[in-house]
Subunit: 153 residues, 3 copies
């Protein structure tokens, strides 16, 4: 239970994983890979952190949105695996920022998620990544991240 202890030491309590917004699964396993659906930032009251980054939402808030999205990724994995220690490697993050025109510091935003995953799993939390700007995201969420992770089946 090393990862669980790490979460405790970081003062992290996992949220509930939000239910899918359509006809898909939160996560699907193929061999030793888990393909996670795109997920977004859920606030403590269960609502979504929304708005255009660079206009309604500033960079620091967007980075916090990416951290909250990372917590959703952890919550999906916890529900699927029962123990986050079974994650052996974060393989890929595809980070999407709901950008107002002219905001392009997308890597700094998605670092909010990567920083969390590296705090939890050290170098196992650092994988390949893209961090790009979208014109729209579902229900105007500020950040969406799609993840692929390797695990011990």
């Amino acid at each position: 239970m090393k990862t669980a202890a790490r979460l405790d030491s970081l003062g992290i309590t996992l949220p509930s994983a939000k239910t899918p917004a359509g006809l898909y699964r939160p996560v699907l396993a193929v061999g030793d890979l888990l393909y996670l659906s795109g997920t977004g930032p859920v606030l403590a009251d269960g609502t979504l952190l929304t708005g255009k980054v660079g206009a309604d939402v500033d960079e620091a808030q967007a980075r916090e949105a990416a951290r909250l999205t990372g917590l959703q990724i952890l919550a999906v994995l916890q529900a699927e695996l029962g123990d986050l220690e079974r994650v052996t490697q974060v393989v890929r993050l595809f980070g999407m920022v709901n950008c107002a025109p002219g905001f392009n510091r997308t890597p700094m935003v998605i670092d909010g998620c990567s920083e969390l995953l590296i705090a939890v799993w050290a170098e196992r939390g650092r994988g390949a990544r893209s961090a790009v700007g979208m014109s729209e995201l579902p229900f105007d969420i500020a950040v969406e991240i799609e993840a692929t992770v390797q695990f011990t089946p």
Copy 2:
């Protein structure tokens, strides 16, 4: 030939798979996974369903565009595998909607594809998914979807 019978019972006749618009393959197999290129909505006359969703194209039309894109996915798989029964699981859909500013009901749009794949394969048709808004798609198509599926080699 169970999937073929299901297509018949749904009244679905598969279209031809559109040829690639550039220097790529429609699909590539690695082990038991098929990586499909992004594909779009082809109308009965062979032209593309184009336009910005939320402006030129309304949500119901966009959902139909996602269904038409799903038919292209089936056509590519039929051409590759010969029998759609060989698909064991839809792993991942990356659904992209050509959004006019302010349209963000992207999951409802991409459900038009997911609904088709679940009608054809039941739960084998439900995988992980993202559904996001793009500023531009090739030749102004209303929807583009990239898919990964597992199959019996």
Copy 3:
């Protein structure tokens, strides 16, 4: 060293791979697949080729940006593998173009990368692909491409 000889005959000298712009790795191996992070066009002087395609950057320049991005992909693979001959197949390119409103000839732009990879590896360089339009890319780069390749471990 067949691929190295091919690079010579094409007159290609590989650039240095740009260091990551955040908390991620340039590439991660899982089994016989390499997941590359999104990368962009680096000019000979080490600066990035930036601007909106269709406004600041025309289609021919954007295609060159895609070729420069392809050189970065080769540089990342060279640093990881030591010998580009170990690449057995380009599996997937996800090509993203930093589009000005109304520019949608994204496949022609990303062909600049595909053409390079096919020149280097012939049909092993031709995989699945999507080529789409983004509202913003990191630091305003004109093109970003995420790649997955198969290799001999």
